[in-house]
């Protein structure tokens, strides 16, 4: 327990919160990589997922690709991309590795979100005289939101945890204090920072959980699934 106490003291000492390399700066760097990567991943994965879910084409193909992408080791991919793009392009390389990590859950969420809408609902919308565009905007997007946000939660959680690795190529973030602490045997620093990452991840997840509650259409909320992440 002593190690955790030491980590706690490390977290409580004010010098961790000021200046270059302080915890606030590291959290900022960590969140920057997380948000930019998830943002790019969402911009790619959600439209593609909707397209496939809407048209029903390429589903099997998609599941295969998304499954394979999940198996890619992020650390190896990041180092490979840094070597390919050069060290001067290391931030793009690290972001690309995180984007690739974030795409599968988002894609699955968007695809499954549209796919699970009962055919009769879509047919009813069409029978009302809705154009395909109106069907997408007024029916498919609102009804798929819970699963899309579930996919987003999954993606954010994975990316925020993996963003720890960007420190291996000198990009900072909370991982920096961990990989610096181990060889220096500063286990208070290592464990303290790991706790900060856990808290950041939990806070992000809680915010997204709240958002997905708010975003769920009233009609859907009645029969809402308990934990949508499990289904995505």
């Amino acid at each position: 327990m002593n190690l955790f106490l030491e980590a706690w003291w490390w977290l409580l000492s004010p010098e961790q919160y000021v200046g270059q390399g302080g915890i606030p700066q590291r959290i900022g760097e960590h969140l920057y990589y997380t948000f930019v990567a998830v943002g790019i991943a969402a911009a790619i994965a959600i439209p593609v997922g909707y397209f496939i879910g809407h048209t029903g084409r390429g589903g099997v193909w998609l599941v295969g690709i998304a499954g394979a992408a999940r198996a890619l080791p992020s650390f190896g991919l990041m180092l490979l991309l840094v070597l390919l793009l050069g060290v001067s392009g290391r931030d793009s390389a690290a972001l690309a590795a995180l984007v690739i990590l974030g795409i599968p859950p988002l894609l699955a969420g968007a695809y499954a979100g549209v796919q699970q809408i009962p055919r009769s609902t879509i047919d009813a919308a069409k029978a009302q005289g809705m154009t395909p565009w109106q069907v997408l905007v007024s029916v498919e997007i609102p009804l798929s939101l819970p699963l899309v946000l579930g996919g987003l939660r999954g993606a954010v959680l994975q990316v925020v945890a993996t963003a720890t690795l960007v420190a291996y190529v000198g990009l900072g973030g909370l991982g920096y204090d961990i990989i610096q602490g181990i060889p220096l045997r500063r286990f208070d620093q290592t464990i303290g920072t790991a706790l900060v990452i856990v808290v950041v991840a939990l806070v992000l997840d809680a915010v997204l959980a709240g958002a997905s509650r708010l975003a769920t259409p009233r009609g859907v909320r009645v029969g809402r699934l308990g934990d949508v992440r499990a289904r995505s």
Binding site: L79, V82, L83, V87, A167, Y168, V169, Q180, P183
Partner: protein
């Protein structure tokens, strides 16, 4: 508590390793357990030890790639591992972080005192694998750099290295204190040499045994003030087996030169040979 935890781990490891070195009378016939770090160059040296011991009629058990010092030193201290290739400076820094010795013989002497009960450092090898600051040949020429002293007054220096270098005594603070050179620090980690070649950093911390120094024509800056700890290859053994193992291992330490170590490493990084083949080749070439 930390030490208790470590002792616990060491005990557990000792049990798993079938309680080697617990019986006192069987030391002649009992297998010698040789360990190595998870560092390709260290594994080659360990493999040389192992094959030399096999050649001398010992039974050898290999426990390679054990990782960080926090993981393997408790095993050595407990006697679960008998022989381990180490580096004088880095090991001294582990046991006494405030050690002031930097010159090879001083470091070796200080290490002898810092080692815990039950562990002995055999004679050290002339081969070193230590931190060193390197610049590209063009940069060295443009600023007429030979030694760290020549860096004074060079503008815009950026030092690249592992994240822990920022806090090491020979890091940016030590460079300023010893040589009056101020640098910016970039934690380039695993891509430090690439960062130097691309010009992202101007100085790179590279181990002196790294074949890429020769491969890319890097210039290692001399260290006349002894900023870096000398770090010679040194076999660490359990004291109860030290005298018998020294007979086999000492001649190897003597024959292993700094250039020889770089050549061994190059066989691994460039020719992608296995540690076993590299070790066998070296032993044969050196007449063992």
């Amino acid at each position: 508590m930390r030490t208790k935890l470590m002792t616990g781990l060491a005990l557990a490891a000792g049990l798993v390793l079938s309680g080697c070195a617990t019986s006192e009378d069987a030391s002649q016939t009992e297998a010698v357990v040789v360990g190595s770090q998870a560092y390709y160059s260290n594994e080659i040296i360990a493999e040389i030890y192992a094959q030399a011991l096999e050649g001398a009629g010992y039974e050898v058990e290999r426990k390679f790639q054990i990782g960080q010092r926090d993981a393997y030193l408790p095993e050595l201290e407990s006697g679960a591992v008998d022989l381990f290739p180490e580096y004088t400076g880095n090991l001294l820094q582990f046991y006494s972080p405030d050690a002031s010795a930097t010159e090879a013989d001083e470091v070796y002497a200080a290490l002898g005192e810092a080692l815990p009960e039950g562990l002995i450092a055999l004679a050290m090898s002339p081969a070193t694998d230590q931190d060193s600051y390197n610049v590209t040949a063009e940069f060295a020429e443009a600023n007429s750099l030979v030694s760290l002293e020549d860096l004074v007054g060079v503008e815009g220096l950026i030092l690249g290295g592992a994240p822990e270098l920022e806090e090491r005594p020979y890091g940016p603070a030590g460079l300023l204190e010893t040589y009056g050179v101020s640098v910016e620090f970039d934690a380039t980690g695993d891509v430090t040499v690439d960062a130097l070649l691309e010009g992202v950093v101007t100085i790179a911390n590279v181990y002196s045994g790294d074949p890429r120094i020769a491969e890319f024509g890097l210039v290692t800056l001399a260290d006349p003030q002894g900023l870096f700890l000398a770090s010679n290859v040194v076999p660490i053994v359990s004291s109860d087996r030290a005298s018998e193992l020294a007979l086999v291992i000492d001649p190897i330490s003597k024959a292993l030169t700094p250039e020889g170590l770089v050549a061994l490493n190059l066989q691994s990084t460039k020719d992608e040979m296995s540690a076993a083949d590299i070790a066998a080749g070296w032993l044969e070439a050196n007449g063992f």
